[in-house]
Amino acid sequence: MLRERARAMSRGPRRAAVLALGLVVAGCASNVPMSMMQAESTHASNRERQTRLFRDIDEPTLLTVVVRTLQDQGYQITVSAAQLGVVVGTKRRSHRDVLSDIPLLSLKAGLTFGLHRHASLGPPDQFAVICALRPSDSATGGHAVRVTFYQQWHRVGPKGIPALVAAEPLPDAALYEATFRLIDGAIALERHAP
């Protein structure tokens, strides 16, 4: 009687262990990055920071102004699709800029015992920017310009060709403010051009 009860009691934890193991295995099996495909709460504030409405200017002119602004900032245009209102540019960082980031990054890596997100990647070697124009939904018209800057990391592949291995958006609000000021200035120049 006692033996049966003891056996029954030992079955409970065993079942729980099997169930837990099953759940762990199921969890490991799924490596799908749901969070990478979901809109986070920060995305709305990012969108606001990265978007500016421009009125009294047609889309082709606005796109031209955006391209000119990027060129002024030393960006190479890598993708341009005027019908979609999209322009993508990249700008390599100079060796001096990359090297100047190393002391601060090393300090951060040291203070976090190597757990800083960029510790294993090193300083970013390139910036990228995506500009997308969209007709405004508001009654007053105009076009919304959304600008997103990224920092990127490359590694030289076996054939000596650098390949993109990591990238992340730059959240700095001041950067976007400065960019929109530059676009504003370029629009004013465009309007007063002979």
């Binding site: 799908v32 995305h43 699709a81 993508v88 997100r117 990591a166 990238a167």
Partner: protein, 150 residues
């Protein structure tokens, strides 16, 4: 010919034929089986009730930008946008890499079909929930709800 020698030659030829049959085809993985294709197409596609292809394409770009993807290629003529996103993990040398190709094409005059196919760390994603999440975001951007393709 000596019968035992003949037997040896036949055995050798049979072995060679067997090995040739067992050899791994070089094109393994280049094409997908038809049934798998159909299932994937179904989970990767949604129909939107608008004939404005440009609007949908711009919505795709806005959604990708919202989800922090980098646009790597865009062809409005073909209706193709390719984008990529990384997740940097602390202590890991290589971040997770998510690649997405979205195509937009008209279906009749009043509908547009959007198809997305994603790859995570160079492996095709077949989980419907991932695509559902993308189409939910796209629907919000377009103020339209996507339906599964019949």
């Amino acid at each position: 010919m000596n019968p035992s020698r003949l037997l040896g030659v036949v055995a050798l030829a049979a072995c060679a034929a067997g090995l040739a049959a067992c050899a791994t085809p070089v094109d393994q993985g280049v094409l997908t089986a038809p049934e798998s294709q159909l299932r994937l197409r179904s989970i990767q596609s949604r129909v939107f009730d608008t004939g404005d292809r440009q609007k949908v394409l711009r919505g795709v770009v806005a959604t990708l930008q919202d989800l922090e993807f980098m646009i790597e290629a865009a062809d409005p003529g073909l209706g193709v946008v390719t984008a990529r996103k990384f997740a940097i993990r602390a202590g890991s040398a290589l971040p997770n890499d998510l690649m997405l190709t979205v195509t937009v094409h008209p279906r009749g005059e009043r509908q547009t079909v959007v198809r997305a196919n994603a790859e995570y760390n160079r492996k095709a994603i077949e989980e419907p929930a991932v695509y559902q999440s993308f189409f939910n975001s796209l629907g919000r951007s377009l103020f339209l709800a996507g339906r599964e393709v019949d």
